[in-house]
């Protein structure tokens, strides 16, 4: 027996590590994406090459609002904001928003609006709307009405809008409200679109020139300057320092000292869509993906402050992570002001369960700029 052991020792280092296989699946981090922040290593060349500057400097955009529209302060992401009132007390909301993204993807934007009216997406631009000349360029005019009643009073909803691609920016002019009122205001809206003109040669503005209503939108990855989120902090919640992604960040205490993490993030456009994001969260708590129908059944709607949040509540079936514990995510998605808003609470099951009501209160108090 001793001899056998000697032999073993010679090559045991080479061939052992045996039971490794049992663990390999769980421990392999060779394809895991990591994110970290580091101080700049060298003096950065933050000024982009000239070609890129050119593409990004868009002319300033001006407009004249029709008489009868109530001007509202241009807060947050909105460059212009108006209210049109109907005789019966109904209201239509008019917004002007721009993205510092290059133009394109007209269909995606039209389909996002169609989605807001619960209309099926279209695949051809011709079906989406029609081009109209504005300020010597082409604006895409869209007129959509929902098939089902979506307004609180049981009437249909309507969106009329103009998508206006400029160098390095896309402008969205949009009126949304009850079908009848928007229909009645359509001529005024078209007149509004026709009033849009460009001040060519205007110096490219930065997000710092915040006072001007035409300042380009600050990049969505940063907190919106001058338009902080308004909310009521639930008892016990603590504000955490913001990261580049988060517009707000909190720590919500749990029963055994373990706290849940709450974040508010806004991304431009649909950010992949509700389903993709919900499935990404499901993956985080080791739940399998679901389809659109299942999402509609599973998700709840929370209406607050004129917003309609889609709320999902996901809990892991078994303890996961290190140390192993049941994890839970409660998240609300909102499609507002051409952005997708994600308000998410995540943490150990006990902590999230304890803060569930506080999270709903937080949503109700939240004022999306």
């Amino acid at each position: 027996m001793n001899l056998a052991i000697f032999d073993r020792l010679f090559f045991v280092r080479q061939i052992s590590g045996a039971a490794a296989l049992l663990f390999l699946a769980g421990c392999n981090d060779d394809s895991k994406i990591t994110v970290y922040r580091i101080p700049k290593e060298t003096q950065p060349a933050t000024t982009p090459p000239p070609a890129m500057m050119d593409a990004d400097s868009a002319p300033a955009v001006h407009w004249t609002a029709p008489a009868g529209w109530e001007e509202r302060p241009a807060t947050g992401f909105r460059k212009g904001s108006f209210l049109a009132r109907g005789a019966d007390g109904t209201q239509a909301d008019i917004s002007v928003i721009s993205f510092p993204e290059h133009a394109g993807g007209l269909l995606a934007n039209v389909n996002r609006w169609r989605d807001q009216l619960k209309l099926a997406p279209v695949t051809r631009e011709a079906e989406a709307g029609k081009p109209m000349p504005v300020a010597g360029r082409e604006m895409f005019f869209i007129d959509l009405v929902s098939a089902q009643p979506l307004q609180p009073d049981g009437s249909k909803s309507r969106i009329v809008g103009g998508i206006f691609p400029l160098n390095g920016e896309t402008w969205f002019f949009k009126m949304t409200g009850p079908d009848q009122l928007v229909e009645a205001q359509r001529d005024a809206f078209q007149q509004f679109l026709a009033s849009v003109h460009l001040a060519e040669g205007a110096p490219p503005m930065t997000a710092d020139s915040g006072a001007s209503t035409n300042a380009p939108t600050p990049p969505p990855i940063e907190p919106a300057r001058g338009a902080p989120l308004k909310y009521t902090l639930p008892p016990g919640w603590r504000e955490k320092p913001l990261t580049s992604m988060r517009l707000a960040s909190f720590s919500a205490p749990g029963p055994d000292g373990k706290s849940a993490d709450v974040s508010v993030v806004a991304l431009p456009g649909m950010a992949g869509g509700d389903l993709a994001n919900v499935n990404r969260w499901r993956d985080q708590v080791k739940l399998g993906p679901i389809d659109e129908n299942a999402l509609q059944q599973e998700a709840k709607h929370l209406k607050a402050n004129g917003h309609d949040y889609l709320v999902v509540d996901l809990a892991s079936a078994a303890p996961i992570g290190e140390p192993p514990a049941k994890q839970r995510i409660i998240a609300a998605i909102l499609d507002e002001n051409e952005r997708s808003w994600f308000i998410k609470m995540t943490g150990q099951e006990a902590a999230v369960a304890a803060q569930k009501n506080a999270f709903a209160d937080f949503l109700r108090s939240l004022n999306i700029p």
Binding site: R13, L24, C27, I33, I38, K40, D56, I221, L267
Partner: protein, 390 residues
């Protein structure tokens, strides 16, 4: 060698097979064959590939040249190691009795089991990387010499860079990669583990590039077989498409053969794309103050290599000078820094950075085996001496 006769036979039969000495001998035979074949295969495959294919595998496959199928021909190192471990434990469960007379063998076997487990943990958790520091340079990360990453760096903040590091494993799968901190998705359209890059002006007949942005359109990338030589490394490349919310921004060619990052702008942020050796950042930094390459007087024969570094750790308030030389590594926060090489006319040091949480286990295992042997032989020796003196 006693068995518990009262236990049911059906239960014991498989256990007896697992515990049999015959199985041990067969495994040892295969083990020797494996080492022999693995050594020969290093000529064509290189040591890293052999380690992965022969020793860190369940089965060794063979396929005829040019064929699309493969068949297993030998058990791999992991399989043999597992069987040996089970065999040893099963032997103790069935054949060995705990007695004072057998304590040496018992200790020895315990050492062998620890060695096997230690190797398993090393295989799972150990990581060897390198740190290349120029004199006067301060570095807070080490690099994997044989693995690349695609770094997507948000350089908009004047003070900090936010880095999303996509390792080779994720790139090799190709397809869409998304990360919640990025306002766009990356589509890895093609990954070339080893590539030959040439300027298009030199190869005008080459097929058009997939790349539409950055320098990629001017470069021809051709896939070549991965290198098996120990002193060579692969130059990887990938075609990566950036998809914004509304449209694609273009396809970039990235490669660790090209050191310059390629910038692009989206949502008012400037990002840089760069493929480089995979980095592992440390919670501390090292500054190379001086690298010494001592020679024997009057000759060019190296006598000693050493690096004088300053270790700075803000988290732990550490700030001291350390001399790392060939047999005198720096051990700090679970990392061991060995003097591994030098470059650049003795102005650059190369440190091997090893992190192995199971580092102590082989020492303990060997001590146990040694102790077990000592006890067992001493018992025999004293027994024999006693008999003689009688």
């Amino acid at each position: 060698m006693s068995t518990t006769a009262s236990a049911p036979n059906e239960f014991l039969r498989p256990l007896r097979f697992l515990a049999s000495l015959r199985l041990t001998v067969v495994c040892l035979g295969f083990g020797m064959l494996l080492i022999f074949l693995g050594t020969l295969a290093q000529v064509h495959l290189g040591i890293h590939s052999v380690q992965a294919q022969y020793f860190q595998s369940l089965l060794i496959f063979w396929s005829p040249p040019g064929a699309g199928w493969k068949i297993p021909i030998l058990p791999g190192g992991y399989l043999l190691g597992t069987i040996l471990l089970v065999n040893l434990i099963a032997a103790h469960a069935t054949r060995f009795e705990v007695s004072r007379r057998k304590i040496g063998i018992f200790l020895l076997h315990l050492g062998v089991i620890l060695l096997l487990i230690g190797q398993l943990l090393t295989g799972l958790y150990a990581r060897e990387t390198q740190m290349r520091i120029d004199e006067g340079q301060t570095l807070g990360y080490s690099e994997a010499p044989r693995e690349v990453e695609l770094a997507v760096i948000d350089v908009s903040d004047p003070k900090f860079d936010q880095v999303v590091s996509i390792p080779e494993g994720a790139l090799a799968r190709q397809g869409t990669i998304q990360n919640p901190t990025l306002p766009f998705t990356l589509n890895v359209r093609r990954f070339l583990p080893n590539a030959h890059l040439a300027m298009r002006t030199q190869e005008p007949q080459a097929a058009p590039s997939m790349a539409t942005a950055g320098f990629g359109a001017r470069v021809v990338a051709r896939e070549i077989p991965r290198t098996v030589k120990d002193d060579e490394r692969d130059l990887s490349a990938a075609f990566v498409e950036i998809n914004g919310v509304q449209r694609s921004l273009g396809t970039w060619l990235v490669s660790n053969a090209i050191g310059d990052p390629q910038p692009f702008r989206i949502d008012g942020h400037t990002y840089e794309l760069i493929m480089r050796q995979r980095r592992f950042y440390k919670p501390f930094v090292l500054t190379l103050q001086h690298f010494a390459h001592d020679r024997y007087a009057g000759t060019d024969i190296p006598k000693n290599f050493s690096s004088r570094v300053r270790l700075l750790d803000f988290e732990r308030g550490e700030n001291r000078e350390v001399l790392i030389s060939m047999n005198d590594p720096l051990r700090y926060r679970g990392f061991t820094f060995y003097q591994a090489g030098f470059d650049n006319n003795d102005k650059t040091t190369i440190l091997q950075v090893v992190k192995n949480p199971a580092m102590l286990l082989p020492y303990i295992a060997c001590a146990l085996v040694g102790l077990g042997l000592l006890v067992q032989f001493s018992m025999h020796l004293f027994g024999f001496a006693k008999k003689r003196s009688r």
